[in-house]
Symmetry: C2
Subunit: 124 residues, 2 copies
DNA sequence: ATATTAATACATTGAATAGTGTATTTCAAG
DNA sequence: CTTGAAATACACTATTCAATGTATTAATAT
């Protein structure tokens, strides 16, 4: 529950080349992007990530308790997130503490949360 | 292939309440957000959306040709996108032209593309 | 009316994936 | 060394979902 973040890094994104003039997405580019969105397209992972944003770092059991899910499920998803380079870990005795290492994710999560609220308001 | 967009609307997003202090995501909030990301977590839909950003509007057959996919597949995904309120359509004779009606999607697509490039550079 | 093209509806199939249960690894305490 | 807790590895199941094939609807032209 400690709140020690490494600074949210307000704009981790480059100056922006205009999207409308980019070449049509290649299969590979689309693939990369899909991988990112897929990682975020899961409600367990989203809640885990948000918990990490709030707490700074957490171990599996803490998260398991907080989200009321089995440790295996949490561990599975953490592994996925780690494979994507989104979270990192540090061991302390029996516990392994995870933290977000990719600041972009925080950004896009924030952005997406905002958008989803608006989108919901508009589309229904 | 005409390029007539209704202005990308540079910031469709509100002033930003700080993410780290928000309450833990409820299952419903997470669900909304997941729905958004799921919609974007598909390479066909991403390429379709980008094509739409570039062209302004396209009909199924045009898109089918451009992306080298069967019309049914394109139509399927357009239906999904329409159900989510992301695209809208307009009929002109035999052809039905689709366009993006949710400016947020352009934003997050742009953002995501940028991030995925950086993330790729970092994580591998 | 008939033929033709565009798009969609619907059922089916195959692939990806999240959660579970079981077993195993890793560390700390006694 | 043994015990117990935390985390992971692995196999398995159920579900979700994209693409396909077939059939149908909608509009235009002859």
């Amino acid at each position: 529950m400690n709140s020690r973040e490494p600074e949210p890094s307000l704009n981790a994104c480059l100056p922006k080349p205009p999207l409308g003039e980019r070449e049509l997405l290649t299969a590979m580019q689309a693939g990369e992007l899909v991988a990112l969105f897929k990682t975020l397209a899961n409600d367990t992972r989203l809640r885990m990530l948000h918990a990490l944003v709030r707490a700074g770092e957490m171990c599996v059991s803490e998260m398991s308790d907080l989200l009321a899910m089995k440790p295996q499920a949490i561990s599975n998803q953490l592994t996925r997130l780690a494979d994507r380079g989104i979270v990192g870990s540090r061991r302390n005795g029996n516990n392994i503490y995870y933290r977000i290492v990719d600041p972009c994710v925080i950004e896009i999560l924030d952005h997406g949360l905002c958008l989803s609220e608006e989108a919901k308001a508009r589309s229904k």
